[in-house]
Symmetry: C2
Amino acid sequence: MGNQLTEMLKGTLEGIVLAILARRSAYGYEITAWLRDRGFSDIAEGTIYALLVRVEQRGFVDVEKVPSEKGPPRKVYSLNAKGRDQLAEFWRTWSVLTDRIEQLRHNGNQHEKGA
Amino acid sequence: MGNQLTEMLKGTLEGIVLAILARRSAYGYEITAWLRDRGFSDIAEGTIYALLVRVEQRGFVDVEKVPSEKGPPRKVYSLNAKGRDQLAEFWRTWSVLTDRIEQLRHNGNQHEKGA
DNA sequence: ACCAGTAGTTAGCGTCGCTGGGTAGCGAGG
DNA sequence: CCTCGCTACCCAGCGACGCTAACTACTGGT
């Protein structure tokens, strides 16, 4: 029945990851661990990898393979120009949605538009 | 490619509709029109009907068939107790998500958790 | 030799919103 | 009378997304 948060993450998780990459480059395992630390403890391991593949295919990130001393090579992702555009677009859309919803939440949204 | 907003609506649209029904009972066509008025102009007609069927099946709303002078009978939906619980849960989850994302947005979320 | 931790990949699933069509009832116009 | 347009609802099929549950591969410790 996928809980609320799972459904809400659809569409926002990509923005979240892009926002993380906007700060600095990172690899999948790192991002997953970091999200867990930050309260996004509910995000599944595999989800991030799939998402990273997607954003790579769309050309929002550049990738570099970096050897690790502790395991298989890491795929380090960096946000590029197109990715920064996408992130900006994400924040715009996010603002629109949150604005409308907050309006709906507090404001006595009387349906009676006439007045 | 479903634009951002479409993806973001997943999981939130249900809450939006429940919030509308919390103010007063309404039928599908009415809700659709009202959403269009309120800037949610991008929401597809059929989407609302499918959503209403879903929330009915989950027992969040009660339904009453009311004849219309201008067309086929309306199905008027009212939020019931279970629906109010669900709506409260929705707001809780929504708050959690927005809090985390706003934190990510402004706050210089240095990954360097160490020092 | 074995296991735990690191790091990434894949196939298949369920949910959601969208698309595009259809049905039904009523009133106005040709 | 027949069609058009508005009201009002329903349905099948689609793509995108996140989740589940596996698997591969490399390193270091016991």
